[in-house]
Symmetry: C2
Subunit: 228 residues, 2 copies
């Protein structure tokens, strides 16, 4: 016998309706108002221009890295069929032999990526970052990081978190962060799983808790990459 | 002997610097301020979520149609490798046999699409539109259309224009429109040729003139699709 609540939870796209109620999709009027009033939007335009859907169910880390490389205008390899135009794709980010040594597409398709692996992939293409695991980052340090980085167009943030802790269904996930609103204390995740969820504004505290979850593959807590 | 001005025009990304100066990329602070102050932004969020790069040099019409279908949440076919997730791509928009009769990928790769062909492709997937050629649309009617449509989340606009008339290099092009700012009288083109140009705010008058150019393939003026 399934109770009405259980039924609602099963068919709902949310794992936790109470948590999920606080999420504001960018596709709503409220989400747009937040974008229009947010004061920390310096990364937003170039990330929006690079926004794409992860190429398969396990490629959220790859998609996030590609978005960051394109948004920072890091010199890219050519792309088949595009003549002289060069830009990063979820394919050519692995082009050179040594890229395959950093982390292989086959391995990623099986088990996704860890925070360190995304850091290594970016580093391999000349982009350095600080890896901040959720257990060493206080809530106030996280909030400061959001305000500072999202107000500075020269750096980027890729967050690694457990969807369930912000009220969505799923597990570990990566996406870039694009804006911060101080009034509501919410941050905008440009969610690369675009077939599944819209980009949402999430409470800083909820995302922080979602970053403090254990990644079974690395044995470390998830967290955030602060990218220069 | 090349004059300094000629040299500048050759290496410049702009065909007409005076015109191009009026273009405001979304990746600049000014572009972001326009987005934040614009009052007609109802289509923006869902188009941003669907924003993608045209899959080859001739696919701007295809990319625009895919963005509109996804942004309107039109029921889509499945996508290889994405289990039960369904969304439109520049590949599956041609999936069924009858799609190939409307317009074939091979033909598009050779010569792009006309305004009518983009209309037919959308119509084939159940989405109707009004085709407004540039020569029958007055500037004030065009401006009204922008204000009304971009303030209404249930409909969309795909514009077909000649890049050179707004100051860019190239020729005929298609992209969705995403927002309108009444104070500066500028409209935001979400440019699907993301490897080539950023999305820009353009003066209504300049885009209108660019829509009034002749498409040599159809023998008709370019224009705009007003999509329900
Ligand atoms: Ca910096
Ligand atoms: Ca930044
Ligand atoms: Ca309507
Ligand atoms: Ca509309």
């Amino acid at each position: 016998r399934i109770s009405l609540l259980s039924f609602a939870l099963i068919v709902s796209p949310w794992s936790n309706p109470a948590l999920a109620e606080k999420l504001v999709p960018i596709t709503t009027s409220e989400g747009m108002v937040l974008l229009q009033t947010s004061k920390s939007v310096s990364d937003y335009g170039s990330l929006m221009e690079a926004f794409l859907t992860q190429a398969n169910l396990a490629y959220c880390g790859v998609a996030s890295a590609v978005m960051v490389l394109n948004s920072l205008a890091i010199p890219a390899p050519p792309v088949d069929g595009f003549r002289n135009y060069h830009f990063w794709t979820q394919d050519n980010i692995f082009d050179s032999d040594s890229s395959q040594l950093v982390i292989s597409p086959a391995k990623i398709k099986r088990q996704g990526m860890t925070l360190q692996e995304v850091q290594n992939l970016l580093s391999h293409h000349g982009v350095s970052s600080k890896r901040l695991h959720g257990d060493i980052l206080s809530l106030s340090a996280f909030r400061s990081l959001l305000k500072t980085n999202l107000d500075d167009s020269s750096d980027r943030l890729i967050v690694n978190y457990d969807r369930r802790v912000i009220g969505q269904k799923g597990g570990g996930h990566f996406s870039p962060l694009a804006a911060y609103d101080a009034i509501t204390d919410k941050v905008l995740i440009l969610d690369v799983a675009r077939y599944r969820y819209p980009s949402v504004w999430v409470k800083t505290h909820d995302l922080w808790r979602a970053m403090r979850t254990l990644d079974g593959i690395s044995g470390l807590k998830r967290g955030i990459l602060s990218i220069e």
